[in-house]
């Protein structure tokens, strides 16, 4: 960490695209609140523009949660179809994207639950929310592992490691660290307390680190 502590280069608990008001995927276009208002008033064009804005992010999230393209596509479709159906219920007291994420996570978890019966998905772990995860692998990593592997290989490695986490930890990690939802937004999306989000995040980060160390260590 020396000489300067420099954590993930982001403002803690500050949603990334709120301050700028810019959509994350393409810089142009109307403000989100305007599109949402028009979509709520019945404009399918406005809704489709919202879809264009967020489909790539929701797909990536779905891939990271479910680990395969087929399930991710189902999650993507269900998310936007349900969002369209339930748009009248969206009260604009959160970001539209956060609302979408909440739907996507529920769809993703349903997929994982269904899958558990026929494939070997890790079970919800029995450890309570301040259960300790102690790092065991202290080997340093090769520098810049992302430059040593192809993108496909990296995707395979990351999904493989994520698949080792119970869904309850995986979702917290993906929302908080990857989607950069705030602790509060993550807690709201998953119906957890702030303390539970932090405790699960702690375990998820260290478990993923431990898994990836098997691949990326220097030895």
């Amino acid at each position: 960490m020396a000489p300067d502590l420099n954590p993930l280069q982001k403002e803690p608990d500050e949603p990334p695209d709120v301050a700028s008001g810019l959509p994350p995927d393409d810089g142009a276009g109307k403000p989100e609140s305007e599109l949402v208002a028009q979509a709520k008033a019945g404009s399918s064009e406005a809704f489709e523009e919202l879809v264009n804005r967020y489909e790539r992010r929701i797909f990536r999230l779905a891939m990271r949660l479910t680990g395969n393209t087929e399930d991710a596509e189902d999650v993507l479709q269900e998310t936007f179809l349900k969002a369209f159906e339930h748009l009248p219920d969206f009260r604009q007291d959160s970001r539209f994207y956060t609302w979408l994420v909440r739907i996507a996570v529920n769809e993703g978890l349903m997929k994982l639950r269904k899958r558990r019966s026929d494939r070997s998905e890790p079970l919800e772990d029995a450890v309570d929310d301040d259960g300790q995860v102690i790092p065991r692998d202290f080997r340093d990593w090769k520098p810049n592992p992302e430059q040593l592997t192809s993108q496909e290989e990296m995707e395979r490695i990351l999904l493989g490691a994520a698949a080792q986490l119970p869904p309850s930890l995986r979702t917290v990690f993906m929302l908080r660290d990857v989607e950069e939802l705030s602790t509060e937004e993550t807690a709201q999306a998953l119906n957890l307390t702030l303390g539970a989000v932090k405790a699960r995040l702690f375990r998820a980060r260290f478990q993923l680190r431990e898994e990836l160390s098997k691949t990326f260590n220097r030895e």
Partner: protein, 80 residues
């Protein structure tokens, strides 16, 4: 600070939850402790790897099928 405490603080630190004082104590520990330095560096790296926005690009065919499904839904809505 023990290593076990340091592990806990590393995660809190990534959340931006540490006071200046604790940050300094953690930093001091990490400068002296090779194990905790590795844990810190590789935890940060773990998050970075998952955050890479180039990963998992959505295939165009999947986008096309999504928009087809949506338009069908829009039409159903109009037909009501």
């Amino acid at each position: 600070m023990t290593c076990k405490e340091a592990f806990k603080q590393i995660s809190a630190y990534l959340d931006g939850d540490l006071t200046e004082e604790l940050k300094n104590i953690l930093n001091e520990h990490i400068c002296k402790c090779a194990h905790c330095k590795v844990v810190y560096d590789t935890t940060v790296k773990t998050v970075e790897l998952y955050c890479d926005g180039k990963l998992f690009p959505m295939p165009q065919t999947i986008s096309n099928r999504l928009h087809t499904a949506l338009r069908r839904k829009f039409q159903d809505r109009r037909a009501v």
